[in-house]
Subunit: 481 residues, 2 copies
């Protein structure tokens, strides 16, 4: 599948990265001589952070091409993403050029943050092909896309569009009525105006306003948004009680938003100076990476709880292929990249994450023999009772890991596994030897696995027993070589 990216700024670059890292071929067109450098930098950031969200490997990257003509870029593309500057006449002209060079079956999506789809379609040959897909920066990490169709778009197009967005890991929010600035930017615009007043009136600096957000309600909004949070604030009376209690405050003179502050040179300069004082000690690259590391950590935390944006991630992760070579000599049970958040003060992957990866390998092997989520739901599982880890080589953030799993013993209630962790270039980075016991989850005591499990296990055990015993099995801590 090919995606064409028309307009190669921060947003276009983010789209390019999303598609590319999810296996699409990507062609970029932007007449700006700097576009290739800018897009390449965004993709470098994405390569650093996006794969770390997942506990499985992303598909193999597609090809990336920078084109010198729009026609070449969009030719044979299934998706065209337009992210040129926010001028209606310019967008209409570019959309016409795109339509002249592309099949009617392709999706043409505009990143516009302000215009309605009907405005974009007004001058188009095939209005039905064009709709708004408005993403959020950084596009390669934030799941939200506001999908805004007009009456001109068919249901089929809408469904194809949201299916593709889900396939590249995004959360399409279909906006049911087209309005200027869609939904999220309406909210952002309101906050932005109010914040400008606070700075203009010297009530708060940019730093103080940011702190008022990120140490308080920003932490709530990362997971629940406005209404669900207020529902809780309403206590046992719920939303209706909250409305009754706080409704009257709307009439108080709390907000300056009856008017728009004049963006005088003085105000712009004050904001720029305060922003320098707040963030100027980090250069842009550093700030982007701090943001991305925090986003990855927050998103992984939410994924663990299968909540909000973390649920989007979890759902997407399930569509990623399991390690393919379960039928290899040793079962391949893990293929993944090391997130940056796994680095410790020694500058390498912290030891606890070695066990996290081996636990993932054990889980995957359990699934291979039939002890999967369904089996666990029915009341049985394996508990690890003993582990032995050898750290043979350092592993750094961003490396691709692979784990090969060997059955050492699997009779009765016991499952004795040996994992070999390979880092990049197939270096053996660590081994994990583990004894697991089959348990009844109700009594929390050992129990006999189901017949199917035992048979599957026996099959692996037979195959693996013909192989040489890997080095490191049966050793104790501190044993001489």
């Amino acid at each position: 599948m090919k995606a064409a990216i028309v307009g190669g700024g921060v947003i276009g670059g983010g789209w390019a990265a999303r598609f590319l890292l999810n296996g699409w071929d990507v062609a970029v067109f932007d007449p700006d001589a700097e576009a290739e450098r800018k897009v390449t930098e965004v993709i470098a950031n994405a390569r650093r952070s996006l794969p770390g969200l997942y506990d499985r490997a992303l598909p193999e990257e597609g090809s990336l091409r920078f084109c010198t003509s729009l026609g070449e870029a969009v030719s044979a593309a299934a998706w065209v993403q337009e992210s040129v500057p926010e001028r209606l006449d310019l967008k209409q002209r570019v959309l016409s050029e795109i339509q002249a060079a592309i099949e009617p079956s392709a999706v043409i999506a505009s990143s516009t943050s302000g215009f309605k789809p009907s405005e974009l379609q007004a001058a188009a040959q095939r209005p039905e092909q064009i709709l708004v897909c408005h993403p959020f920066n950084p596009v390669y990490l934030l799941p939200l896309v506001e999908v805004v169709p007009s009456d001109a778009n068919t249901q089929e197009l809408r469904e194809r569009c949201t299916a593709i967005l889900r396939q590249i890991g995004m959360k399409p929010l279909v906006v049911r009525r087209e309005i200027d600035a869609h939904i999220a930017d309406r909210l952002l615009e309101a906050v932005w105006r109010e914040a400008l007043w606070l700075v203009k009136d010297d009530v708060a600096t940019t730093q103080e306003i940011d702190d008022a957000i990120r140490f308080g309600f920003g932490l709530r909004w990362a997971q629940m948004g406005l209404f669900e949070t207020y529902r809780i604030a309403g206590g046992e009376g719920g939303m209706a009680h909250f409305m009754k209690q706080f409704g009257p405050a709307l009439k108080w003179p709390w907000t300056k938003l009856m008017d728009v502050p004049e963006l005088t040179d003085d105000l712009v300069a004050r904001i720029a100076e305060q922003s320098d004082a707040q963030s100027g000690h980090h250069d842009l690259r550093r700030l982007e990476r701090l943001r991305d590391d925090n986003l990855v950590a927050i998103l992984r935390a939410l994924k663990n709880n299968a909540w909000g944006a973390g649920e989007t991630l979890a759902t997407h992760e399930e569509t990623l292929p399991d390690p393919a070579e379960a039928e290899a000599e040793d079962a391949i049970t893990v293929e993944r990249r090391v997130p940056y958040s796994w680095t410790d003060y020694n500058g390498h992957m912290n030891e606890a994450h070695y066990l996290e990866v081996f636990a993932q390998a054990s889980d995957r092997f359990m699934a291979l023999i039939g002890a999967d989520a369904d089996y666990i739901d029915k009341g049985s599982s394996y508990f690890t009772v003993e582990s032995h880890l050898r750290h043979l080589d350092e592993v750094k953030a961003g490396e691709d890991l692979r784990v090969r799993t060997r059955v050492i013993g699997g009779d009765g209630r016991k499952l004795h596994l040996f994992h070999q962790m390979e880092s990049e270039n197939r270096r053996l980075a660590a081994t994990g030897e583990h004894l697991l016991i089959h348990v009844d989850l109700k009594t929390r005591r050992s129990s006999t696995p189901g017949a199917e499990i035992s048979e599957n296990l026996l099959r692996y055990q037979r195959r693996h027993s013909t192989l040489d015993t890997p080095g490191g099995v049966g050793r104790f801590v501190g044993q001489r070589h």
Copy 2:
């Protein structure tokens, strides 16, 4: 130290929990017959989540008392937190009663979200004693407090106030100019009005608005806020470029905020219905716990990156005592509670977190012998090369853990440690045997530790060598008893 909580709703209960779990004695007064139940429920939520933020134990809880008179509650308190309903006459009356019963040296803080401190002080005997400390729900987890003094408050009071707030783990944001609704609620109010318009005009439901927040900019705001995010969006041109690019949009008719929507019965009912459809399948308790589990996970993720609210946490954590009994027979190297986010599909602490706790124990022991952060900064450290874990008993979320550490060998470059993890009631839950090697962080090769390290290590080794060898040392995986 004693804190008095006047007004025992969700906010008062959150304050009670903050103080109590940080070691303060707490006295609550609220004439509402339901107050004791409500406050107790908030404290139960706090006990479940707050200790899980930290990798050290919180101080021992203070005492909790529900009082039948205001005078009894505030007597001898160093801090009084007023959280009665938002009516100025009521707040002024309660503040007067408090002042009549308390020393002039105590801090009297109001949780008001709307009133200015000068308004609260207007009818007071000692205006200089009263200021605004406006927290955010859940008060026991969110660090932000807007501290709003007036000219009547001395610098000494402001400093005492912020020092106490930091001591209970909060982030005081001193608001330099008093205005209605301070800073954060001004921003929230703006979003709230805009959101009400979106629902009223049937552009979006409460669920859609929440999704527009939590899948997109809410994730940015949890860490950076508004201006720092936009600074990045401005690219290499920074904030001034962003203002130039997006300033004009302020003049577009994007926002409805020129007016306030009428809160008709119809609109209130519509919002309540949509909120029910969105969240009604979770009862209030469940929703609170989901929120708290997500907050703990997000805050722990940010703590790992020492960023934003996570930095507040990390700073607070450093003020918590290290495990005290380093001089005990076995060194006590970890005392902590198990966060709820550590639970896996088997309903107990996931195995990777056992190693996380043992790694923490090794780190603490390294610090005890002088291989601390400073030592590591100077270019040497210990790397774990081998570990053996035995899982002897299940550990559940919310349990208090303690780890005892024994030196098995410590000559030359090697450090051979044995950790015993006790869960509640002193059950032995797991053991960890670890071999660490002293390394030069530049060459990444083994090296000889400094003389001070070796001497300190020898001291521990001598003491521990007189003790019986603990069961489990030197075993291999699957070894019979």
